[in-house]
Each structure stands twice: as structure tokens, then as C-alpha cells.
């Protein structure tokens, strides 16, 4: 019996993925309450430091969900995010954080079902990994 309940923070862009989450709501597609959303105007706004802060203050997993390539409300913020976080993912290991605790994907405003799927899968993945214990040089402020 695993009663570990992971804490997951999802950064979602206002135009697609936040609306995709609303869509999941309208369709009453349930997903684990472990996932809490933080709205930004565009995924381009997500500073790697936000993700690090989330891990430091208690998140066991972090997601970034934005518009599909070509659909970003601000031309190509999502592509900049993709590039920024491909590098960031590699660095995560150095901080002693398993890469699987971080997840970047695209969810359109109409994709309530996909929103339900990615958040459910993420929760399961992180649940299996267990609580985040940072062993690297990044201290956890809150556990």
C-alpha cells in the first residue's frame, strides 16, 4: 500500500493549457487533486528558477503545459520554452532530481481529455518515484 501523495505543480499558459484544464472541468474528467495549476500568460514566462523553487519548497513533480507548436498566442514562446527546458532537464540530474519528475508537453484548449491523461500519468509516475529527497547541493527549504 502506497499512501504517499505527491505534490505536483503545473505551469500552464493562459491561452491553451489553462483553457484545456477548464475543458477537462466542463467535461467532468477527473484527475488527481495532487496537481495544482499556476497560470502564466505563456509558457515562455516560465523561468527555470520557478521550477527549481517549486522543487525546493515541496513539489515532487513539476509540469509545464503550453500551446502546441505553431499555436502559441505569442508566436513561439512555447518553442523557446522547449529549448530552455531541454537544457534544464539535463541539469536536473546534477541537482539529484530524477528527470521523470519534470514533464513538458502541449495541451490545446480543446484537449480536456489529454489534460486528464497527462496529469494522471504524471501523478502515477511521481507516486512511483516516491517523495523527492534532494541529495545534491540544493537544500530543500520545506519538506
Amino acid at each position: 500500500m502506497n499512501n504517499f501523495e505527491p505534490k505536483i505543480v503545473a505551469f500552464v499558459c493562459n491561452w491553451c493549457s489553462y483553457a484545456g484544464a477548464d475543458k477537462a472541468g466542463e467535461q467532468k474528467l477527473d484527475y488527481p487533486a495532487n496537481v495544482k495549476l499556476i497560470r502564466v500568460m505563456c509558457t515562455g514566462r516560465v523561468d527555470p528558477q520557478f521550477v527549481m523553487r517549486a522543487f525546493r519548497v515541496g513539489a515532487d513533480g513539476v509540469m509545464i503545459l503550453g500551446c502546441h507548436p505553431g499555436d502559441c498566442h505569442y508566436r513561439n514562446g512555447n518553442m523557446k520554452t522547449l529549448r530552455r527546458f531541454r537544457l534544464f532537464e539535463k541539469m536536473l540530474e546534477q541537482f539529484g532530481i530524477n528527470r521523470q519528475r519534470f514533464f513538458l508537453d502541449w495541451v490545446a484548449a480543446g484537449e480536456g481529455k489529454k489534460f486528464q491523461e497527462v496529469t494522471t500519468e504524471m501523478t502515477e509516475r511521481v507516486r512511483n518515484l516516491g517523495p523527492l529527497e534532494i541529495k545534491g547541493f540544493v537544500e530543500r527549504e520545506v519538506g
Binding site: V9, Y18, K36, R45, Y74
Partner: protein, 649 residues
């Protein structure tokens, strides 16, 4: 007041049973009441109703708080309305933070206990975030209300007339020597076989006479500066060597000894070194082709000068650099016909009497090289014609897409040939046909009823043409070969030459086919990806004349609705700002800004955001290594507080 002393007023909405059934609001309320940072908690059945908003306003008028937290449905539903109510109560609208406890909590969480806990965390995050809320002020700026239109085809002309009739000064910049674009080379428009010159003539004369419209032809845009509300377009106007006292009387045409191929007739007819595109062109002024004119080539002729009754010829004229300002720009640069190399495999260029569709249009036009007489190269009337659909289209090597309009044009060939030779045999050789819409379908049926042979091939790539004495043999898998006097290759439309360059100059995106990318394919088809630069006609993607004109209407209507004389342009409030005391001048923000809204101040050695261009995506803030760039209403402090807020109390 320190952040710790700030107090928020919390409003919980039951949304009838829509939230109350899924979240234990009594518990949420009683826990929140114990918080030091919460002044009061109020619950309402329907906060979005008239009575609910009244309740919100009155409560805020009677209880002074620093921030307002509304835990209800998605902010996408009523955030704007609540912001308005809060400002009616005398607070800044940016002091409202919403917690989405319906769509993103109650409705998606199976267990009420879990949903209640999640709602508490979302509210906690909103309260913590609100401690960092700052007032936002609506900014506005004076704007120019004139319109600049690049491209004087049917779409650009429509935009010009719409805007000019609304009292705006309009400048049309056209690269050709006169207005008309693609449609001017066409006689009739399928499927209704409307007379194209008859549609155009009243528009051309409206433009010619309109006091609000300036037409600059033979001109090319060299740069575009500025932003929505204040653009400057730089233009190079090429010398015409004929001044505008010319009325296009054509007396000089007789006098000119040079004869050369006419580009207006796609090389099929001749013109003089001094010429107009066609009689009645706007402007009527003739132009001298410097490469052909003997005065310029060897200084041996000035026959036109003597023949001109108006002394209009001016060999000393030079190119001019001009500048135009306007609040909005409309790009209406149209399309091009594909390069002939795309249809070489169909005998084009090698076999006589094989024409592309645009060439056929010229041959069939009353202002064309044969005066509208459809004839073969030997001068005879073709008694059999094969039209090959999708020539050069739907293939990797050619145009990968369907242009959507060419089937109708292809059917037109039979219609027009039969008008001149009723007994002529017509074959429309195709793989797929596109006839969407009742009129289109009826036009197809009419061709079938009138005897056109619709021949379906198994594959476009199997179509082959062979010269057979005076005739052309067309064969393909799936059909019996036919022998005809003339073949017309129905080609598609490609982006106008220079589209890519222009897009780069104005910082607009293009789509995968190379046309201007729409701001939104459904919601704003006639907008480019740059604020204040709209697009009309075929430069967005291939369309028929009706759509081109409608897009012209839409592009102009949108521009004039946003730029109103005497009214200021309201700007995005949640823009980025760069603190010049912190900025290290690394220019990373300049590199990532999708709108080129950030420039470098070389004196202060800092980056500066132009808040008129900035749309507030926040990408610069995420990239700034020193924390100098920040996105208003999505500041680092606000987001850090929210991150912490969703994770722990």
C-alpha cells in the same frame, strides 16, 4: 505597510450547487476566517449574478481591504466582470485574484474531501500571491488613423475604398505600373462568369476620384518602422520618365519605334518601349521601359517627346525615396503564378499550343494579345481542348497543396471556348475535383450537361503529353488517350514574389506554404502576426475573388474600428518592464522577444521595452539573468508566492 499586514477580503461562490456540492465551502470559510491575512470571508450563491456583483461592490465599499480574492469558476468566465465591479467599488482592478475552484477543482476531483483540501490550497496561493499585487493603470497613446495599403489588387483596392469612405487618408503602394493585381488579367470570373473588368472599372474610378486615396505605383516598400498606431513605411518609387500630366492618350505608342514582349500579356503580345498596362489603367500615365527605350540604350531616339501633346515625357526623372505614416498597414500583396518549370513535364515550353491557365486567361481576355479571340498559334480556332487539372500541384516537387480555386477556373476554359466555337470538344482531365458550394457544383454540372468530358485519371503523375503532327496527344493511366488542338494546364497559386522578404521586414510570420500567417486562422484570418498589420486577399492563402474582396473589407474594417480619430489607443496593461538600474545590458531579452518590442539604449547601455508593441508574454522576464525584466501582474514575486501557496499553507 509591510506585506504581512496586508489583508484580503475572500469571497466564496457556491455557484448554486455547482461548487457547493463538490467543495465543503463551510469548512473552507471557517479555516480562512482564522487567517491573519484575511479580513473577512463572505459566501454567495451566485457571485456573477447582478445581485452577486452588487453584494461584492457593497461589501468592498463598507469594508476596506488591500486585496480581493474570489474563489469561484474559471477566471476565463468572469474575471473581467469582477475586476470591473471591484474598480466600481474604488479599488484597482489588479487587486483581484481568482481561485478556480470549479473547473479546476470541484468538477475534476472525485472525492469531496480531496476537493476541499485542494480548494484551500488554491485559495491559499491566491491570498499569498495577492500580497504582491500592484496597481495597474490603463495606458493609452495618441494614434494615427490613416491607413497604408501594400498592394493594389482587388483586395487592397477594397480596403482602400472602405477606409477612405470612412474618412481616413489611404495610401496604396503598388509595385506594378498600375492598379488591378491578378484579376485585371482575367476576362470572366468562375463560377458565375462575372465580367471581371466590369467589376473592376467602378472600383478603379472610385479610387481615381477619391480625395482620400493616394496611389503610388511602380513602387516598392523598402522598410517599415514603428508599431500599431504609428507606422512609417519607406518606399522607393521608380522613375517613370513620364509625369502625371499624361492622360494615357497613346499618341506616343505610335511614335515609338521599339517593339518588345509585353509582360502584361505574359510575353504573348507586343508593346512599345513607352506603354501602359492596358487602356483605362489607373493611373493612366504611361511609363518608359528604360531597358528597351533607345533614348536610354544609345541616345538615338526621342520620338515620343515630339508626339506627346502634353509635354509629359521627362527623361531626367529619377527614382524617389518616399515616406508615409499611418496607424495601420494592410498587406495585400496577392499571389504569383508558379514558375513554368513546375509544368515542364507536361510539355510546357516544348510542345506548341500548350498553355498555362494564366496564359489562357490572357488569350481569352478582351484586353489580351488577341483581343479575346481564343486561337491556336496558327491563328485557327481550337476545335478540341484538354484542360489538365492540378498541373504542378499536389506533388512534393511542385505545389504540395490544393489552391482551392483552380477547378472552377479550369471549367471556365470549356465555357469560354464553347462560346466562340460551339462544336468544340472539351476534356477536363483530373484526378480530384474541388467544387465546394452550390454554385460551384452547379457550374460543374453545367459543363457536364454542355458536353465537357470529365476524364478521371488514376494518378496525376501518369499524365503525359506528346506532339502528334498538328495535334497534341494526352494520355494517362485510367483514360483513353485523346488528341486535341490545345492544352491548358490548370496551375495553382503560390506566394507572391518577395513575400518572404516583406514578412521579414515587417517581422511577420509566414505559414508552411509561404503565405502570410494569419494572426488566428479562424478568429482573425485577416490579421498578420504583427499588431496593426492586417492582411487581405490571396497573400494569406489562395482564395477566390469574392473572398479576396471580403478579406479586403475585413482588414480595413478592423483597422478603422481600432483607430478612431480623437480617441486614444488603449495599450496592453500586463506588459514587461525592465528596471534600468538592474539591467546589465546582456540583450538576451532582445533576442527572445517575439515582437521585437525591446531595443537597446546605447547611451544608458540598457534594454528598453516599447510598451506599445509588447503583448506581455513574459518571455523576456524568464530569460533575464539579472531579474531586471519583469512581467507586470506576473512578477517573480507574485509567481514565487503562488508556487509556495499551492504547496504549503
Amino acid at each position: 505597510m509591510s506585506k504581512a499586514d496586508l489583508k484580503a477580503g475572500l469571497f466564496l461562490c457556491r455557484c448554486g450547487a455547482n461548487i457547493a456540492d463538490f467543495v465543503d465551502l463551510e469548512r473552507v470559510a471557517s479555516v480562512a476566517r482564522n487567517r491573519d491575512d484575511v479580513a473577512f470571508v463572505k459566501t454567495h450563491d451566485f457571485l456573477c449574478s447582478v445581485a452577486g456583483k452588487e453584494f461584492l461592490r457593497e461589501t468592498l465599499e463598507n469594508n476596506i481591504v488591500d486585496n480581493v480574492i474570489i474563489a469561484a469558476c474559471s477566471p476565463k468566465m468572469y474575471e473581467k466582470a469582477f475586476q470591473k465591479t471591484v474598480s466600481d467599488a474604488g479599488m484597482n482592478f489588479a487587486k483581484v485574484s481568482m481561485a478556480n475552484i470549479r473547473e479546476q477543482c470541484g468538477w475534476v476531483t472525485k472525492d469531496k474531501e480531496d476537493a476541499t483540501k485542494k480548494a484551500q490550497m488554491l485559495i491559499n496561493a491566491a491570498i499569498k500571491r495577492s500580497a504582491h499585487n500592484e496597481n495597474l493603470q490603463q495606458q493609452s497613446m495618441d494614434c494615427l488613423t490613416d491607413i497604408i495599403i501594400i498592394g493594389g489588387g482587388i483586395a487592397g483596392m477594397e480596403s482602400a475604398i472602405v477606409a477612405a469612405n470612412a474618412g481616413r487618408k489611404v495610401t496604396i503602394i503598388e509595385k506594378e505600373i498600375s492598379l488591378g493585381g491578378g484579376i485585371i488579367k482575367i476576362e470572366e470570373i468562375a463560377p458565375n462568369m462575372e465580367c471581371a473588368p466590369c467589376l473592376l472599372a467602378p472600383r478603379l474610378s472610385a479610387i481615381k476620384e477619391h480625395e482620400n486615396i493616394t496611389v503610388v505605383t511602380n513602387a516598392e516598400v523598402t522598410d517599415l518602422l514603428g508599431f500599431f498606431g504609428n507606422f512609417t513605411v519607406k518606399v522607393k518609387k521608380k522613375a517613370r520618365y513620364v509625369d502625371d500630366s499624361c492622360i494615357g492618350c497613346e499618341a506616343c505608342f505610335e511614335a515609338c519605334p521599339v517593339s518588345c514582349a509585353s509582360d502584361f500579356h505574359l510575353g504573348m503580345g507586343a508593346r512599345k518601349a513607352i506603354y501602359t498596362a492596358f487602356p483605362g489603367s489607373v493611373p493612366a500615365t504611361a511609363v518608359i521601359d528604360r531597358k528597351q527605350c533607345l533614348h536610354f540604350t544609345d541616345d538615338s531616339c526621342d520620338a515620343c517627346v515630339a508626339s506627346c501633346p502634353f509635354q509629359s515625357i521627362d527623361f531626367d526623372e529619377t527614382d524617389e525615396e518616399l515616406e508615409f505614416s499611418g496607424g495601420a498597414v494592410i498587406v495585400a500583396t496577392g499571389y504569383d503564378n508558379p514558375d513554368s518549370s513546375l509544368v515542364k513535364h507536361l510539355g510546357y515550353g516544348a510542345i506548341e499550343n500548350v498553355y498555362t491557365m494564366p496564359e489562357f486567361e490572357r488569350i481569352a481576355s478582351s484586353n489580351g494579345p488577341t483581343g479575346g479571340n481564343i486561337q491556336s498559334s496558327n491563328g485557327g480556332k481550337p476545335q478540341s481542348v484538354a484542360v489538365i487539372h492540378c498541373a504542378g500541384s499536389l506533388s512534393k516537387e511542385g505545389i504540395p497543396y490544393c489552391s482551392g480555386i483552380c477547378c472552377m477556373t479550369a471549367f471556365k476554359v470549356g465555357e469560354m471556348v464553347r462560346k466562340q466555337s460551339p462544336e468544340a470538344v472539351i476534356y477536363n482531365i483530373h484526378d480530384r475535383l474541388v467544387c465546394s458550394g452550390p454554385q460551384e457544383q452547379a457550374f460543374y454540372q453545367k459543363q457536364v450537361d454542355e458536353g465537357t468530358n470529365m476524364l478521371k485519371v488514376n494518378s496525376l503523375s501518369s499524365i503525359a503529353l506528346k506532339k502528334k503532327k498538328e495535334k497534341i496527344e494526352v494520355s494517362a493511366d485510367g483514360i483513353t488517350s485523346v488528341e486535341v488542338d490545345m492544352v491548358v494546364l490548370s496551375t495553382g497559386l503560390v506566394p507572391a514574389e518577395g513575400t518572404e522578404k516583406l514578412a521579414e521586414m515587417i517581422h511577420a510570420d509566414t505559414n508552411s506554404a509561404g503565405f502570410f500567417k494569419a494572426d488566428h486562422a479562424i478568429l482573425h484570418e485577416t490579421g498578420t502576426t504583427v499588431d496593426g498589420i492586417n492582411a487581405a486577399g490571396c497573400c494569406i492563402d489562395p482564395c477566390n475573388s469574392a473572398t479576396a474582396i471580403t478579406r479586403g473589407f475585413a482588414a480595413a474594417g478592423d483597422a478603422i474600428a481600432k483607430l478612431i480619430p480623437g480617441r486614444k489607443l488603449e495599450l496592453e496593461m500586463m506588459t514587461a518592464v525592465i528596471d534600468e538600474d538592474i539591467c546589465g545590458g546582456c540583450k538576451l531579452c532582445i533576442a527572445v522577444c517575439p515582437y521585437s518590442a525591446i531595443t537597446f539604449d546605447p547611451e544608458k547601455k540598457v534594454s528598453v521595452v516599447n510598451e506599445v508593441i509588447c503583448r506581455g508574454c513574459g518571455t523576456c522576464a524568464a530569460s533575464c539573468p539579472s531579474g531586471a525584466a519583469t512581467a507586470k501582474h506576473f512578477t517573480n514575486d507574485q509567481l514565487y508566492a503562488e508556487i509556495e501557496g499551492v504547496l504549503y499553507e
